[in-house]
Amino acid sequence: MVGLVVVSHSHTAATGIAEVAAEMAGETNIEPVGGDGDGGIGTVPDDIEAALAVADDGDGVVVLVDLGSAVMNAEVAIELSDIEAVIADAPVLEGAVNAAVAATGPDATLEAVRDQAEAARDVDKL
């Protein structure tokens, strides 16, 4: 099954987003990661790389990211990792929920899950 990694500058935010998405997602493996490693705000590529390894069960990982350097650090982590992973260009919470649902499909592919995450960009709230 395609796994998910949620990257936020705040570890608390990443954990919370993963919790919300998990409500919708059945068995999907959702790994939260974030913070600067010292309790502060930030992202660390090594931590993201480790999260990719946890989330992957062989079918690859879709990565949801919040802002700015989270994107760059996720890119670096993917480059350093052997795991097949792609970043979704999507709002992090809505994208994670969409992706979590999509990943539960029996034939879900990495591309399909990313596409579903990115479809969250077009959802109006009002």
Partner: protein, 235 residues
């Protein structure tokens, strides 16, 4: 020059950069206070200090390992965008040094580094970022080595001069990338901190290379640089 001595010079270069960045910490912080979040000096000083310690601990490394280790350490220790931009690009470009340091591999390293910074940061010349120092420096270095046939040290010196002009160029322009871009016209008149730290790193590379080559071959003349030229290093 043996590969080991290249690695040794690379370790010294990282130590020199760490010292220089520490000395310029306040300056970088001041520049970043004007148009950013005032953390560039502290982040860079912490990252390079950790990198200097990490490369000093390597046992009998080659130059690729030294550069890669420095990059990986910067990745984990420097926060914000400077971590992936500096560290990630060093890790990636270090692969160009697998066969050691030559004028040719130095050009390849510089080009790959620049490419990675530009891809990752999606910035061009004129956006008021480190790219404004890097692009003229790398292009000058490449041209000096490949077209003008200058010895590597002279080529590096010209590249540093080009980076310096690039830093000056960031002062009057308006930022369109990174946090400074939120300031719009208010960013005009301020020197870019990332371009400035890039210049400091390059100046220390030049100083280290100069001292290194002097020590390695005190009798070498300008026409036979101790870094092997393209011909001598042809695979």
């Amino acid at each position: 020059m043996s590969p080991d001595s290249d690695a040794e010079a690379a370790v010294t270069a990282v130590e020199n950069v760490a010292e220089r960045i520490e000395a310029e910490r306040e300056r970088l912080t001041d520049l970043d206070s004007a148009i950013g979040d005032a953390d560039h000096g502290g982040n860079m000083a912490r990252g390079w200090q950790a990198a200097a310690e990490a490369v000093a601990d390597l046992e009998d490394p080659d130059i690729e390992t030294v550069v890669k280790t420095a990059g990986k350490t910067l990745l984990s220790e420097v926060g914000g965008a400077s971590g992936p931009l500096y560290g990630g690009s060093l890790v990636f470009a270090s692969a160009e040094l697998t066969d050691g340091l030559t004028a040719e591999s130095a050009v390849a390293f510089a080009e790959t580094y620049l490419e990675k910074v530009q891809d990752r940061g999606d910035a061009r010349v004129g956006d008021k970022t480190m790219v404004d120092a890097l692009v003229p420096a790398v292009h000058t270095f490449k041209k000096s080595v490949e077209t003008d046939d200058l010895p590597p040290l002279d080529a590096l010196a010209k590249a540093v001069a080009a980076a310096e002009r690039g830093v000056a160029f960031t002062v009057p322009i308006r930022a369109s990338k990174g946090r400074a871009s939120y300031l719009g016209w208010r960013s005009v008149g301020h020197q870019d901190p990332g371009a400035t730290s890039t210049l400091y790193v390059m100046e220390e590379l030049l100083a280290t290379a100069t001292a290194h080559l002097d020590r390695e071959a005190p009798s070498a003349d300008a026409s036979s640089p101790t870094v092997p030229d393209a011909e001598a290093s042809e695979e």
